[in-house]
Structure formats: C-alpha cells, structure tokens
Symmetry: D2
Subunit: 360 residues, 4 copies
C-alpha cells in the first residue's frame, strides 16, 4: 500500500536507500522449480551497473546480488525469495552539502514535504539504485518466460537528444543491442549518440532520450479488463522508473492524426492463424494481448544531477548554489535498457499467472 | 485481482456490459459525510453521454444514475456506495453480425482468446459504456477534493488530427472548456476541429486527438515511492481508458532533447514559499507532488468503429467484410474529457487518503 | 481496503444496508463458463431467508436475487457479476426509537463512533441482511467446486444452548441436515433444540449455539504459507459472520490437554495413497490441506435483538429502556448454516485459484 | 498474494527458512519519525528466543536483528524497513533423515504436495522460526501504539494441559507476566504448569495450552465492516501462528449457552462516558472497537516434534519410524506469548491507520 510493491501474483517488494545497509527485494508468488543461479541474475545486474563504460557514471559499485531465502538446490522453492545487495562504505561527509539544500528536480524537497524529514545521504529511497532490486527479481521472471513460454523481451535505445535510430523492432536481436556501449542497434546512430553523450558529459550537463521496448511471442489472452490492461500496467511500470516522462504504445502520439480506416489493424488468416496485417495497436486490443508483438516507447528526461552550477534554495528558505560533485551519468539510457526489460518481464509474468488462475 | 478495481483506499470496482442489465460501480472507502446528490453526479455523466451534440454518436442513452447504498440523508455514510445505471432495451438482432466476425481493432478476438467465448452483443465488457461508472464514482471524489481541499481538476481537447490548440493550461477555466462542443478552449482551433470531425463523420471514418489534463493546488507530499508515483498512477489511469495509446507528463517526449541544465526546475522562494521557477517535471519530483500544477497529455487513437467497409475474419477463420451500422462517435475526444477528469480525481483522492494514513 | 471485500482472486465486494435500496455483491475473478441459473442461487438464499419456519423471525423478505452483469447465455463470462436483491418498502417510523438510542450489543454505538453518524433504520450496514450477498456469490463457487473438483461443503447445527448433538461429521449428508428446521442431523437432539428455541422465543429472549463445518475432498496442497493458511482464512471468514465469537479447527480447544504423542496424526498408506490414521489437525498441516476432511466448529452467541426490556443509553448520554418490536430470530443457528457453507466455499475457491496460479 | 504478507497499510512481508541464509521481514507503510533502536526490537525477540529457560528448547540461536533500510538517525523514515536475522551454521547431515520421511503433523507432506519438492532441512518455510520476523516488525508497532496512542498490549499463559490459571485480565501487568518462566501471572498455577512441562519433557513428549490476549485503551471506532472486523482479523492473525487450533473472543464458546438477556452488555454512563456494564463481547460490536478492553483466547495444540518414536511413511510410500533428535520445545506457550502480542499489535496498528485514512 505504501508504494513499494509491484505485481499482484508475481509480487515484488523492494527496499533500501542509496546509503543505507542494503538494497534488495522480496519476491513472493514465484513458481517453484525455476532453475536459476546467482550468476544468471548478476548478469542482468551488470548491464545496469555503474562504471560499465566511458559514458556511464564512473562510480564503482559492485552490486553483488545474494539469494538468502526461497531457494534450495539451485531452484526456486515457491516461498519468498530475498535478493539483496549490500551497500558499500561511503563518506557521509560527501553529502553534507545536501543536508540543507534541495537539489533542483530531485526528490529532496518532496520527500521532506511528505515524511517531515529525509535521509539526506545521496538520494535516499529516491535513488535509482533501487532499480537494481527490480532487475534482480525480474531476472527470475525473464528466465521463466523465455524457457517455459518462449516469450522474448528486449529493448534498446532509439533516440538520444535529437539523434534518432532507424531500426526494425521486429527483427532486432539481443546481440545487436549489446554490440555497442549505448545499446542502440543502429551502429551509425549509435556512434553519433555516443559522441553526443561525451560532449554533454564534457559540458557537465546531461541529455535525455527514448527507449523502444519489444515483447515477442506473448500468447493471446493476457491482460485484464478494464483497469489492468497490458498497456496500462506497462505504462505504470515504465513511468515508475526514475526520469521517465512519457509512454506510448503502438502508434502512440503519432497515431492521433490518423483516420480510423488507416489505423485499424485488419484481421487476416496467416499460416492458418488469425493474425493482423498491421500492428498499430502495439499488440493488444481492449488491453488484452492479441498474439502480435507488444511494442512501446519510453521517454527519459535528461538526468537531474549535473556538474554545472545551479540555483536553488535550502531548508531555511535561503537562495543557494549547487553543483554535483561529479560522479553522475550524463545519459541514463544505456543503463536503463535492462530496467525497461525488467519492468516488461514483471508485467507479463504477473499477467501470465493472473490469467492462469482464472482461465488456465 | 481480475482487473475491475481501481484505487487502494478510495477503491472502485466497476461492473456491466454494454447490453447486460446494468453498468455501475461499487465505491468502497469513501469518507463519510460528503454531501452530494444524484443530480450532481448526473451532471458529470451528462458531459460523457452519447447524443449530446452533432459531433458525437446519435445514440440516445439516458444513463440515469441511481445511488442504492452507502448513502443516507443526503450524505455518504462511509459504507460501500452502489452507483448504477440500468441499460435500456435493445434489439439483439442488431448485433447478430458480430456473433461470428471479429471487428478490426476491437476486443472481440482477444476477449474470446481469453475467456473461451464472449458476450457478442455490442462490445460487452470492453464497451466504453463502462466508463460511465468511473465518472459517477469520481464525481464523489471531485466534490471532496474541491470543497475540502481546494484541488481543481480539469482537462480539455488540445489536438484533433493535426489541428493543435494554443492554450495556457495555467489559466484555462472550466467555463472556457464547456464553451463549445469539442471542449477546446481555443475558439479558433475549436472551430477547425469541429469542421474536421464533421468531415470525417461524413466520410464514415474517425479521427484521434490529444487531451491535456490539469490538476491544480495539490499539496506537496502526495504520491508513494517507488512504484506508486503520481505520474505512474496517472499513466495507468489514463492508459486504462478505451482508445488511449500514449501518456506524457510535464515535458514528456519533447523533453528528451533538452539538456539537464535547461530541463531542471530551479527552486526559488516566491511569496515566502518554496516554489519552482519552471515546471518541466509536471508537478512531481521522485513521483511525489511538489505543490506545482500537475499537467499531462493523453493520446487517443481514432476510434475503431467506422462506417467504412473493412476486411476482417470470423470465428471460422473465413475472410469477411464488415461496416458499422452507423451510430458511432467520429471522434471520442469531447466525450473523453470528463473521463480524463474522473481518472485524475480517482488518482488524487486515493493518494490523498494513502498519505493521510501514513503521514497525516 | 475498507473491509467490504473478501478473497484475493475469487473476490467479492458486498454492498447494501438493511433499509437502503438494495443489498448485493460484485464478484470479480470468477472463472468463465460456469453454467448456473438465478434459481440455483436462489435455492441457497432460501435456506438463509427469514420466515422459513416457526423458529425463525416471522419477517417476510422475498430476497429475490438478480444477475445483472457478467453472465451470458446461462454462463458466467469471467467479467464481474453483479448479484443484487432489492430491499422492500418499509415504514421509517418503525425505527424512530433507534434514531437516538444505542441498542445493547448492537453496532449502533460503534458505527457512530467510527463514522460520526449512522443510518439508524434497522442495523444499517451492520445488519445480517448483508450475508445474503455472500450466500449468493458463494453459490457460484459451490457449483464450481462440486462439479469441477468434487469438493463437498456442508455444515450443521451441533449445539444449541447446552444441548449437544451426537453426529459423525464424516458421514453426515446434506439431506440429513435439511431434514428438520433446526438443521441438526441428530433427530433426537434436534427435537430438544427446537423445543428450547421455542421456549426462549416465548420468553422474548434468544440463545446461542455451535455450527460444525465440514469440507470434503479438498486436494492436498491448497493454502498459502505463512499468513494465509487455510485455518487462518477460515477463522477470519467465520468470525466475520454476525454473532460469531469463536472458531476452532480439528481438535481445537479440547486438544490443548493432549500429549503430542496422542495428538499427532500418524501417516499411513491407505488404498495406495498417503493418508493419516487420525485427523486431529482438521485437514491441514502448516496451514496447507492434506487431502483429509477439513472440519471446524463455529460458536454463535445469542442474538442481541430481544423482546425483553433492556437498559441502555442514548446519544444525549441519558439512560433509557428499550425492547425490540418483535420480529427477531430467537436463535440464528438454522439460518446461519448456509452462511457457514458460503464462507467455506469462498475460502476454498479462492485458495484453489491462488494455488493454480503459482503451482498449477 | 502468496500468503507471506500481513496487514493492508502497516504491511509486513516475511521471508526465510529455518536453514536458509536469513529470516526477516520488510515492513512497508510504517509512519515516519518513530524513535526506536535495534536493542528495543531485540528485547521483544529475546522473549521469543529458544534456550531462554529450562522448559524451552535448549537450541541456542542468537537471533540478532539488524535494521538495513528505512531507518535514519534513530528514526523510521517512512520507507520500507528491512529487519533481518541471519541464520547460523548447521550440519546439513543432521536433517538427512527428513529428506525422505514425512514427520507426523508437520508440513513436510503438504509442502511437497503443494510445491512439488521441499527444502527438507528442518521445517523450511513452515518453521516457527519465521515468527521472529513478525515479532521484530511488531515491536515497531508496539512502540507507536503505546507512546502515541496509549494502547497497551499484553498476553499470558492461561492454561497448560488441564492446569488453568485464575487471573483477572483487567488488572494483570507485564511485570507479573514476566515474573516466571512459563509467563503465567498466577504463581501457584505457574508452578504446577512448569512441573507438568518438565514431566512431559522427561517423557519425550509435548503438551498444549491456552494464551489469553488483552488489548487495552483501544479507541472506539477501529475495525472495518463487514469482513475486516477486529475479531475476524485477530482470529486470522492468531490462527496463522504455528500450532494454533482455536480462537475465541469475549464470551467465546462458553457464551453459546447463555440467553441474550444475560449475554448482552448494557450501555451505561460512567465517568461521563458511554461505557458498557459487562464486556461479554470482548471489546467490539459489529466488529468495531467499543473502547472497552479487547480480550480473547488462543488454543495451542501440543507441538508435533517429540522425542518419542512415531510411525509414519516416506516419499516412497514405505512405513518408517521416526524420533526427533531432541532439541524441541515440550510446550511452546511461554515462547508464544510475545508472538500473540506481536500479532495483536499488527492488527491494531493496521486498523488504526486504515481508520485514519477514511475517518481521520
């Protein structure tokens, strides 16, 4: 109820602050018997980890995940899994400046308005470090979805600043996505994006972008009317990621200018199956999966932490100036790709179990 | 769990199909003592009602709302309210064609994939008629939010097809919105929009658009980390409305091209209060309200029901042709405005109660 | 969240007051395709109905149930079912005395303490009339459990006042239970119970008793660790029925005096299956069903409404005297039998679906 | 949904097996600003700890609790708290016998029926070790309830085997309860109980008993109609504790023999307040607190683990004999007292927050 849980049946509850003892997640409702290792989970976390390339924050966080419950002889047991990553030592003094000042576009002010006081070491609970817990729990779902159901989840950077990639989401592969440090499978665009991020970094600034999400081979029939539609739950999932400001599925905002006769996806028989000729809907009708690929786009604003000096105020309502100490991501997009994958997996896994309960 | 409920503490569960006995809602968790009449609820419903102008569907549905429980001597009692609108008589034969054929971009096929069979009279549970239940329940929330907390909720049509309005959301009034049948406060744009809708209607086609949502005077501190952020819950709420394909808050998709130094909202002291100079965030930081206006945009695709003949298939996997009998909305935007208002009210009311429980 | 819902996946939300417009329930999460008629549901309601015999209240309430949604061509559709019974006309003046006075051991005082005011016509939301909604929704579950899974649910009156029946719950049949008006299959005890109830009624008083609940053929493996154990959910279900003051499963309170070596149920192989020799546990270990019969007992206090004059106070904190107008049940036990059945069915159905989601 | 969470707003999710890496709890929804230390939490845990006296299991488990999140500068922050106790080293070989055999009246068989396989080291997730997590989280609630609201929660051993104590629950103090190792404030009965437990222990057997629960100074108005009544939620809470077979509130099972005119609690004016002369209800009417003391009784069966040899079967459906290695509790009652307190605190805290949300 206090907002730290996601999913109804495949349900995660995350905990932890950027500078407390640990960050992690309890996963309840996981099917028993899924074979998975800490290493497989770690592999997803490493895609999200700081310090993985020259265009991410140089912070070095090991983010080693441990499984402390719900796991026996290499398999999930069906009881709650605790996945935990301990925080490393830090110098509290590094953050003293933040004790009083509210960083622009950060949650310092709003958390304090809500709770009366705040953990001022780093971003506390509002830190994007929390998303490692989501990635860890989702790794279990991804394994199940892929191996038991053949569902493939991937995402990639489609735009950084004004640079747009040209990619067919129907054919893109995980290998193509991982082939460069910005995680954009259009190599030519990727080079320009990397150059832009380096420029922005040199300026002590940050830049936003768009991630394209793709979910293939979802069986028809997942999703619940009328509130828990797949697009609604994906939207919530993605909008809950730090720095996300927009979500669109299928034709999205561009589709508003179309006529119904253009936009509608005619049914046809293909390979003996009922399919659609086009997929402007993005893979669902009435919020329920059609069997076509689910495809959507997620807009990330430029990150708020920048090296450039900024005007702000402090708790005493005095005007002050702030500039970040420096270890920030000039562009979160490459590290956000596994987080988008994670949220897709959590949504689909949850809806798979929900549909099984009622209609399986 | 089966998707027909929304909200945690101010919780609605809707029921009803387009051609069953009734459509309505049970509202549980409503504060006691709210003075409201059936007429006040009806007023919101009338803004959503079919047949209200030449550019909406000519279907005549009375949509009379009745309060059957949780209400005594003109006030809410705190126990569950049943709000119900009985369906009118219809000729089942009108829908016989739909018994076999799957309408393009409708939920006929996906509901059948999910449940094994479907109520083929109209759109069944997937009908937008369900949204009257949301509007009815939200009318109670809107009254409370406005009178007890001074929170103002409104929305308007910002775009139809390629025609964009030019409106300052900070100053727009409910009266301006209601001043024309398309519900666009930019009169010049409104005229062009109406002309476009009439043209599309004459062609037997449909057209999409964008609604701008505005929520003013929300106190700082509403919203829950880390999943139940205000933007995440608004996104889910809006994406659960029929025909919605996109949601963006604050700078949204446009913001991805900005630098952090441009996009960040500097804090300042204004009238002795901590405020922000700009509001690119759209009224929240870390998902928690800042006290600034919450503003967002919702993309509606062109409605799927069109008069023009379309190719599709039927349950026997045969190719067939379909054309709607005629009584459809060429553009849902004007009727969707009160639904966007309703979903905003449900989200804010729920978060108000949740915050009160933990931090009040 | 406001307490009017029960079940996680087979989820009911009831509404209605004794003297509002209607009493009913929305059932969400019902599997599609269950063939059931209004008459079959009515049959369960008729067992709960006032005025069914000389030992129940002479109030005549028709309690006709209507299905208004989630139902098509004789089958459940999987979308929310609205089951509703309209209230009949009444004379508000009959209740004027209750507008000010708090009836002893009724909820008048506590509802007013909670909500600030109350619907004083009858017992409002606290009326046992609400339980008809539970019985209606549970009739759908009972049909499914019996026909699809072979699970048999029944209960009977085991004690009234000090009169205890002597019955083997393993062999008792529904026909035996329905063979007399007190619903006690021990005919000799039943006669004494009926005589006692008539005596109590003549005195203008009331009397309590115990209902024995029995659930047969539950497959092993239902129930969730560690909070949502079958005994825990049954206890909650039964304790939520008006007038219930105690619940025990298996050996219950009597078992506390036993040694572990007596109380433990040894496993054995019977007909090639793993079974237990005894069933002191009452059908579950660790809260999860063992495949043995679930058996439990529910204690009902004497109903609070009595004809005898009683001392009490009113809203002005004045001492007053009250005596019920007369149409009350001297003993709720016979009418409570179908309510115990209903709650058993709701618990088992919900756990069946939950187990299917994770382990099915 | 998978049963490992309790509470709606003050919500705990526990995790951990007896022989995994750790046992603990995530507490979400905790009000911010509660001053509490690890030592205060530990104090409650020490009352539950094995090895605390000659009549509890001689197992030595340190059960050191750590707070790893949601906590800053000695206060709760309002974000999720992780409370964790790491498990100590053990010899897996000690449990090899249990790999194949199903212990009588343990959950070995039912867990395996549910999940397909089980963690056979000790009792896995079904271990009563899980309850330390409940006690830890509840310590936070107990502090808040006592200091902010003046609500006092206590419980004591009222019966062991056939030995019943004679205690007035209205006047008993925490000091009296802690004055002997069986936690029974009737010193004479306590001595007999201790002697009985020692005798049972010497026989390699176990014995059950009854704990009386008491909650004082609960304000009138807590509890939700119609399912989430205080007695219903207390019943569920208590029945979710290992070895509990029965729950009764107020007059309980004894009250069934009374007449309504005896059982009803007449209202009166006392010290200018509306109070009841008697309290047969046990502190609630219609499931909502009346302001009178909430009092209830919880029946514990004799624990299943005994030294005496027992007949059972193994996974291969062979008859085998088993006897516990020895380190078991002959009577869980003294160690269960803080668990009953904990569950009371969790129920009342949750209802306090729920009532505040809607009616505060």
């Amino acid at each position: 109820m206090a907002g730290n849980s996601f999913g109804q049946l495949f349900r995660i509850t995350t905990f932890g602050e950027s500078h407390g003892g640990a960050v992690g997640v309890v996963l309840d409702g996981c099917p028993p018997g899924i074979e998975i290792t800490e290493e497989e989970i770690q592999k997803q976390l490493d895609r999200r980890r700081p310090g993985q390339s020259k265009i991410t924050t140089p912070r070095k966080e090991a983010d080693r995940i441990k499984i402390l419950s719900g796991y026996f002889e290499g398999k999930t047991t069906g009881t709650p899994m605790l996945l935990i990553a301990y925080n490393e030592e830090y110098e509290s003094d590094d953050y003293l400046e933040l004790k009083e000042a509210y960083r622009p576009s950060h949650a310092d002010f709003t958390y304090e308005a809500k709770y009366g006081f705040r953990d001022w070491r780093g971003s506390g609970r509002a830190s994007a470090r929390e998303t490692l817990a989501r990635v860890a729990a989702a790794a279990v779902a991804q394994k199940y979805l892929k191996e038991k159901l053949g569902i493939e989840i991937l995402s990639y950077v489609d735009q950084v600043g004004d640079i747009k990639a040209d990619i067919d989401f129907n054919t893109v592969t995980p290998e193509q996505i991982e082939s460069n440090i910005i995680r954009c499978p259009d190599q030519s665009a990727a080079e320009k994006m990397i150059a832009l991020v380096e420029k922005v970094k040199a300026e002590g600034d940050s830049i936003g972008g768009v991630i394209q999400g793709v979910i293939r081979n979802v069986p028809a029939g997942l999703g619940e009317p009328v509130f828990d539609k797949i697009p609604a739950d994906l939207a919530k999932a993605m909008m809950s990621i730090n720095a996300v400001k927009g979500f669109e599925i299928g034709s999205g905002f561009a589709g508003v200018s179309q006529r119904g006769s253009e936009h509608n996806d005619p049914f046809e028989i293909r390979d003996g199956e009922i399919r659609t000729k086009t997929n402007n809907a993005g893979g669902t009708y009435g919020g329920i999966s059609s069997g076509e690929t689910i495809h959507f786009r997620v807009a990330f604003k430029p990150v708020s932490t920048i090296k450039k000096e900024q005007d702000t105020v402090n708790r005493k309502k005095e005007a002050v100036k702030l500039s970040a100490a420096g270890r920030h991501d000039p562009c979160v997009l490459p590290r956000a790709v596994p987080i988008v994958d994670a949220m897709s997996a959590l949504v689909i896994m949850d809806h798979y179990l929900r549909n099984k309960a009622q209609n399986g």
